[in-house]
Symmetry: C2
């Protein structure tokens, strides 16, 4: 049996001396796909660009590739840093890197910015080649399956016939599940974290309120804010604040801020004053987000979330849906996550078991709510790493002559 | 023992033939108080008007009066109708009326619009006599205790030395608890429904986001929208949507709307389209509220909520706080209420027991979230009625020669 060690390229390890668990400096790549993509809404994108990053090395057998699917506000930059000066690493740096659960010494990790995004891939803020102006509200509405189809094109480009695993949290988990139905032969493992087969009415209601905050901002200009030289920052900030509260748990917020006063006194009177630490934190979150994220993308992503309904074309029967899957599943959820509660993951596990699809499920204790899937957590890391070690072992096994 | 039956005046029963449980047609009353009111913020209101309604008749001993304290968006019109044409009765009509838990055949019920409100009592939309223009953002910030003090003046006006009970849900429950500390001798029973001794960080965060939605609406004009001939309707609508979701439970929303589509199809594409029933419902709720409620009042009320902290002046010790109470307590909470969860009521019950204050507590099964305190519910009605029957019996007892 071969024990070939897959090492990341030297370029990616150049600053790893500081942090042996980091993939180091990474350079985003991009590709423009010119084969038209038929979308679920009935429209077609004639061409589109996807921005992506890769960490680790694709082995000779091309069987160690892992796809990372991002959530609502995510992007391609999942691990490492873009420069030595970069203050923050990628959004999932705690889980991707040498020796980490998604071990870049073992896997070739691909992370992209989804179509419709605002970090370099074609989206509402991109120029519509037919008009020479930003797409804005004319950008097609996307469904999760459209992302899966565009991700499959990226796999083709990279020469990956079958993913060792497709992995995602939240909206990313929906993409991973959809992969198992759209391309059952193209993945061996599906890792679905803090996700659901469909949103609850409450989730839809929060998303709708966030969209209303954006679209009712006069600077939204019916989605044509870029053409008008405006930006509905205030609306997007409120939308982000709504999201942010719901991604944290009541306990998590309480532990982080309690009812601590910013000034240490209750004697403030001015209407505009920020009194509680949690207010200050939320305003900062909203403001900084609204300077970096495209409002039309936020609307598009939340609508894709709302519309996702895994079993809809299968007579609303998740067992029938998952009967098409050919991969193994690993599910994880977090005890204090109330937007994608453990109950939603148990529903997935139940459906998979009834469909005779192999599934492991771990419910992780955490006070951090939905955000837990992004944050360091001992048990989560151990469970995740243990599963991925088995996935990696299979890749090595397949290397055997 | 006298068994004098207290009957509401004929005028109030005039249309009761249609609905024997209704207090009938009611006429709001108002009084302008000219004795200055010193406020917790350090400022003073030289004069102010309170609008109120009364149901039932004050007995000779004036010992059967009950005060209703309203919640965030409530007002004085708690029961009955303002005219025969009135389509909807007062906000707590299910619980106030002849034979209802707050039985107007037994009690003289007083319900007011709080100071700072926008339904007739002096508030930010009233004219500041010193400027001749609406108060707007210059209206003083109020605390729950300010409401209690102004309510005590109303009691004086009506000749009520001691309430048989002070009753409130949510923010109204906070007023009831504060009554027991500010005027321990002026109430015999304190009925606190779906309330808390202080808000959690999550609750503050939701309120802060709602306020941000209002204040970031350009039509807010730093709170001077009335002087500018504007109204931040969009911001207030979003604020109300946020509130509305959090007053309902996930299950409740699910049962009411599920993921039902408005058009019965997933094939809609327009960005402005309303697809899910829950979206349509929320938009309607937001729009209709924003046409009738004053945005500055919404800010004032949510800030009073955020700042309420029952035990703050008692060394953060609720037991020390409640040791000042001289009344009996009745607490109720609802299983699916996640903004004022049963846990919060249990904390109140624990503190009262440790302070040796008599307390009854009922946790009511309901899928309706925080809103449950306003809605018909068999067990809630039975428990509430049983408690109030004992309160009424005491009033009769005190009538004895």
């Amino acid at each position: 049996m071969s024990t070939e060690k897959v090492s990341p390229p030297a370029q990616q390890r150049q600053d790893a001396s500081d942090d042996p668990g980091s993939v180091g400096i990474v350079v985003p790549q991009q590709h423009t796909f010119v084969e038209p993509l038929a979308l679920a809404c009935g429209r077609t994108l004639d061409q589109y660009t996807l921005v992506y990053e890769t960490y680790g090395t694709l082995n000779r057998e091309k069987n160690n590739a892992v796809l990372i699917c991002h959530a609502l506000s995510g992007h391609h930059h999942a691990a490492g840093r873009h420069s030595e000066a970069d203050k923050r690493p990628g959004w999932w740096d705690s889980y991707i890197g040498p020796g980490k659960p998604i071990d870049t010494d073992q896997f070739f990790v691909v992370s992209l910015n989804n179509l419709g995004g605002c970090h370099g891939s074609t989206g509402p803020a991109s120029i519509n080649p037919q008009t020479g102006a930003p797409w804005g509200p004319d950008f097609p509405m996307l469904r999760v399956r459209d992302w899966v189809h565009s991700q499959a094109r990226l796999a083709d480009l990279l020469g990956i016939g079958q993913w060792a695993a497709v992995i995602g949290g939240s909206l990313g988990g929906m993409q991973a599940m959809r992969w198992s139905l759209e391309y059952p032969e193209r993945l061996r493992h599906c890792v679905v974290i803090a996700s659901a087969m469909k949103l609850s009415a409450q989730n839809i209601a929060f998303n709708e309120t966030a969209r209303q905050a954006i679209t009712s901002d006069p600077d939204f200009c019916h989605g044509r804010y870029l053409a008008e030289g405006k930006l509905p920052r205030r609306g997007l900030a409120v939308a982000r604040m709504i999201g942010h509260i719901t991604y944290l748990s009541d306990d998590g917020l309480g532990k982080k801020f309690g009812r601590e006063l910013r000034s240490g006194t209750f004697d403030l009177g001015a209407e505009e004053e920020v009194e509680f630490q949690v207010q200050s934190y939320l305003r900062h979150q909203g403001d900084s987000f609204s300077g970096t994220f495209d409002p039309n993308t936020y609307i598009l992503m939340t609508r894709a979330l709302d519309y996702f309904d895994l079993a809809r074309e299968y007579g609303d029967d998740p067992v029938a849906a998952f009967s098409n899957a050919r991969c193994r599943f690993m599910l994880m959820s977090f005890t204090s996550d109330w937007r994608f509660s453990p109950e939603r993951s148990r529903e997935i596990a139940d459906a998979l078991m009834h469909a005779n699809v192999p599934v492991s499920y771990a419910e992780i204790e955490s006070p951090m709510g939905h955000d837990a899937f992004l944050l360091p957590n001992d048990r989560y890391q151990r469970v995740f790493a243990a599963y991925m070690k088995r996935v990696a072992a299979e890749c090595v096994g397949r290397d055997a002559p």
